[in-house]
Symmetry: C2
Subunit: 351 residues, 2 copies
């Protein structure tokens, strides 16, 4: 395996450290040789076809004299013509996702934590899959939904054996899960969102999370893996926040609005509690339709007992009818995400 890791930030850096720790173990226990042949940060890149010495890799990247350029990197990987090359995308970046096609066409495998390619145009998603089939090269992205949770591989396994996904219910936003699992009316919605922001669960502008765009991308990817053709705009987002929240300009104004609007949120959570229900942002697919919606669920619902930032995916299929298959756990964080990317890399090594 020859890995080219773009970029060595939070997830990418953790991945390189995990690889450094596991290289010898993998070779001994599984006959898998993992070499890091390329590393890039947002400015510099470092290539070594013999494998980069991972002691002090941070300094080596920092002091590299080669400017990072995405297209040139792909060209150089292709020129090296190494067996089992893997382009590893640890960004959330549109620009980086735009080179997958070129990589796959040059027989370079792609492993990505970046959701963009799989949740943009269906045509692009299908095109990437078709190139893989034609060139016998792999495009893996298990971490796109639920980080280290085995969600996409499981849907693939079900579909391959002829099972049919009837319904998906999922809570797949760590930040939204934290907010609605923590807000209970004894605190204020303003303070809970503020806490989620300061603990790094949300984007600097929490409305990016609260708009549901990230959840839309994730449910769309699951739906497509289930073999269903759907576009991003086909998914409806309902009722997460009052419209006014998205109409004010600054983040500061947004927080002021939350503070002034507390009675609205109190009423919302109070209504749910009076019926013994809890608020959850649930992404749902059923009967060809997908929605992301703030729902009040009762104690019989599989998501009633969720805590903290945990993600959950419930799959109802022709074979899992009465009770769904449920996969649950930490769905974000550098450690578990890097581990999920690592698992995809090992999967390619095993091919």
């Amino acid at each position: 395996m020859n890995l080219f890791v773009v970029r060595v930030g939070n997830v990418g850096g953790t991945l390189v450290d995990q690889i450094k720790q596991q290289q010898k173990v993998l070779q001994k226990n599984s006959n898998i040789v993992v070499r890091v042949t390329g590393l890039a940060n947002s400015k510099k890149m470092l290539l070594n076809s013999e494998g980069i010495d991972l002691n002090g890799w941070q300094d080596q990247v920092e002091s590299s004299s080669v400017i990072f350029h995405k297209d040139e990197l792909i060209e150089q990987i292709a020129e090296l013509n190494l067996r089992n090359s893997v382009f590893v995308d640890c960004t959330a970046n549109y620009e980086i996702a735009s080179v997958y096609k070129k990589a796959l066409e040059n027989n370079i495998n792609v492993v990505t934590a970046n959701k963009i390619a799989c949740s943009s145009d269906y045509e692009l998603y299908q095109e990437l899959k078709a190139i893989c089939l034609k060139n016998n090269v792999k495009f893996l992205y298990e971490t796109n939904v639920g980080a280290g949770l085995p969600v996409i591989g499981t849907i693939n396994d079900l579909v391959h054996s002829g099972d049919r996904i009837q319904k998906i219910e999922a809570t797949v936003s760590g930040s939204l899960n934290f907010i609605f699992n923590t807000y209970d009316g004894n605190n204020t919605f303003h303070d809970v969102v503020s806490q989620a922001k300061s603990e790094g669960y949300t984007e600097p502008d929490p409305r990016i999370d609260l708009s549901g765009v990230d959840v839309k991308r994730k449910i769309l990817i699951l739906i497509r893996e289930a073999g269903i053709k759907m576009e991003f705009d086909d998914i409806e987002v309902k009722d997460i926040l009052p419209k006014a929240c998205f109409e004010v300009d600054s983040v500061e104004d947004f927080f002021n609005l939350l503070k002034n609007d507390e009675p609205t949120f109190q009423e919302m959570v109070g209504n749910a509690q009076s019926e013994g229900r809890k608020l959850r942002v649930i992404a749902k697919y059923e009967d060809g339709k997908a929605t992301v919606e703030l729902q009040a669920v009762d104690s019989t619902h599989p998501f009633y007992n969720l805590q903290g930032t945990d993600n959950t995916v419930a799959l109802y299929t022709d074979r899992y009818v009465s009770q769904p298959m449920v996969i649950q756990g930490a769905g974000a964080g550098a450690g578990v995400t890097a581990a999920g990317v690592f698992a995809d890399i090992v999967r390619i090594a095993n091919y």
Copy 2:
């Protein structure tokens, strides 16, 4: 892929039907050609190196003139010397498990729903793994614990990336789950066990389930996959049933004893309920020790809300610390088990 399926009973027969349904789809969508080259029931076998026509496969096996013999089958598969041969064991049989070594040594992949090989001597388990590494051949058994649930693959993914399993908690017996999820003191323990038997959830002698031997095998397999050396006899079974139940001879005497002992069971469930707890048979690994135990869990425990026969595996690791990764769903039944075997076969096709 050239598959040799032993035996075409409940799981094996369902698998053959699933393959028949999916052959064309897999070829078209994934470039995977799956041929069934051999089929066996307990008496007869049928081989065709060109692939058996799956229309009316049952009659073809039934009317075959070739007597099934496990060692001869392996020899014949080896002689055919086909690329990507897979010996598929859908039995629960000691005898069949005894030929895996010979198969793997002859570069025949093994996919099995049979727990015997992985839960017998650790030395055998290690030997089979070593042959795989040496011969670059695969031995896959995802269905051994939880049928179609992605449990073993997930533990492998975690371990490969350097995560460490700290603790496992699991309810992995459909029959025991049914019994203790259904018995609530408003019914009798006798009637619940009797219902579990008549609905086919237990062995004809339900004590085989209630002895915990099946659960011991399953937790042992998970522990070994986590990289820990352990033997079957190292696992302690506690408190599932009073000793006397295993000391009477016949199944009839056992059921009479349950009837007469109802006050004991009423007390047991009553004590739990008075503390707001529910009874669950939990297999547990922690700090180098493993147990299978009837426990009374409170509402904060991840297994409190279990229903029916559903299996659950909760993994606490260095990276999943505060909340475990949880995988839950139907862990038995011909459809989901055959699908799990099918997924292992597709995994080999993708290698």
